[in-house]
Subunit: 323 residues, 2 copies
């Protein structure tokens, strides 16, 4: 870790330490290719399939790094977060592997399926009202009562170092990449990608892909400072959260460009991936493919790593089937 | 090939020849595992993922063996079949790779999506009325006009030798298997599995899995002679076809047992596979998992190869979503 005064930045040594620490608890996920998508894009695409990851998403890398990096004394008090998505599942999974409690604060209005999934991985849910103030109040109370260590979903150097192990693996699995593309929400995965590539393969371009309807990272990138969205709405619900100072540091320093896609483009790319590659992916990870297909001139002729971030989908309500 | 008078039986030498012949045209598909399904079943399951196969199904193995085994003279006239399923796609794909025509006779009432898929692989469709007599009449006409070689979806020694390469690969990928299970419709995959295992691993048990609502193979197996179903109806639409003499030869000689599952059990196993393994599988290949979960005592403690036969699904009408 490198102390920059106002924040602590993870270094590549932290990524190597993270990989050694979490290797027993995660999958080295496979890289798939598709002659269909290669022909369609004019590029050579290498899909890093974190949908096959433990708990169904890359977030288990950062969560495991945070959990297994705690001293025994700290670990005994458990970990805590407020999230209703993949980070909550992943932190619950990692805490379960270490045998410590994981406290998750979730609005009582969250879908039952999400609550069940967190409990399925052993997470302990404390419900709050569906407002930021209630969430913060209840979360402070849980932390005060338990002394649990807060693990932020992305604005945490331990988490970013963990996510960075994904592109570290990808580079070991595929030779001669020209570019890597990942979806961007809070920026944890993109920051991890920046951390790895800027250190061991700085010639590789880094693209971030974002829904047009939640394009705060795109607008921040163009403006040169963080701009937060006001209540974005997108099918790629993992990508609604804003950048924070730590992820902004990496994004503003190392990202080549941010590309956006419409809701329909995202849904089409998602369905086409299921259809042709026979894999279940979340809407969020269809965004990179959608931007590749609409920006052919950027990627044609290149060898491109595409991070498939997760596969946790509600199979009862698919975005291309009208309910 | 071994000539038994009334029929020609493929031998293991044919399987080895088939594998060498088709290797450039097919994927060596991966074997996936799932700690979730291992815990649920009490067995160690190894999923041979033919849903990732070219054209989306194992049938490309048999079809490619037939197509690439033709003399140049025969090949020039093309191949022909009547099927609206994976065999038609696979034969079209293989013919396309060899650069020869593939004629497919399909009822004009077949879903547009199936016609589009066959044409997408370069197949030439000739439509018939939706009756067996019309199909046979139109097919005879197409054959007479073109001289194309008929490739039956399963009752063909070249096709069975091709399908047999799937379990040949599986044995090379997984050590110490105690059993292999595959879905049974016409019996092409199960016959191929019998052909390989009876020759190179005769101690491994062979199970076939069938929908209760299309249980002609089950009833044939128990009766000791072929019994055909009268218009079976099941969500596992690849499994409606009956055994024929060649597949009955293998099934009656080498299969350990045939197990059945209800429609709901099949749909549940299919959805659970999508949810937990993040792979898109057809209803047909959920039948083995459904029977494993309901016959725990048969499989617990064993290392079991499970053939995932294909992933060609209409994503607009999923069986667990009411339209």
């Amino acid at each position: 870790m490198k102390d920059l005064g106002e924040m602590t930045i993870p270094t590549y040594a932290d990524v190597e330490a993270a990989h050694a620490r979490i290797a027993p608890h995660i999958h080295r996920t496979p890289v798939l290719t598709s002659s269909y998508f290669n022909a369609l894009s004019g590029a050579e695409l290498f899909f890093k399939c974190e949908n096959f990851q433990k708990a169904g998403a890359f977030k288990v890398r950062g969560a495991s790094n945070a959990v297994f990096g705690l001293s025994d004394e700290m670990a005994a008090k458990g970990v805590a977060t407020h999230s209703s998505g993949n980070h909550a599942l992943s932190l619950s999974y990692a805490a379960g592997r270490r045998g410590i409690p994981c406290h998750v604060v979730m609005p009582r209005t969250a879908p039952q399926a999400k609550k069940d999934a967190v409990r399925g991985y052993g997470g302990i849910i404390t419900e709050c009202a569906p407002s930021t103030s209630s969430r913060e109040e209840v979360f402070a109370q849980v932390q005060a009562e338990t002394g649990a260590e807060f693990v932020h979903p992305y604005n945490d150097p331990r988490v970013i170092a963990g996510q960075a192990t994904c592109s570290k693996e990808l580079l070991a699995q595929v030779e001669g990449l020209d570019a890597v593309i990942a979806p961007i929400g809070g920026g944890g995965m993109v920051s991890g990608t920046c951390l790895t590539l800027s250190n061991i393969a700085p010639h590789i371009e880094i693209y971030a892909a974002e829904p047009e309807q939640a394009d705060d990272a795109y607008r921040s990138f163009k403006a040169g400072h963080i701009i937060a969205d006001d209540a974005p709405s997108t099918v790629a619900d993992g990508l609604k959260v804003p950048l924070k100072e730590l992820t902004w540091h990496f994004v503003s320093t190392h990202v080549t460009d941010i590309l956006t896609a419409t809701e329909q483009e995202i849904i089409d790319a998602m369905k086409l991936t299921w259809q042709r590659m026979k894999i279940v992916i979340e809407p969020s990870c269809a965004v990179p493919l959608a931007t590749i297909l609409k920006n052919r001139e950027v990627f044609a002729g290149k060898r491109v790593g595409v991070i498939i971030t997760g596969g946790n989908v509600d199979l009862d309500t698919l975005p291309w089937i009208k309910g």
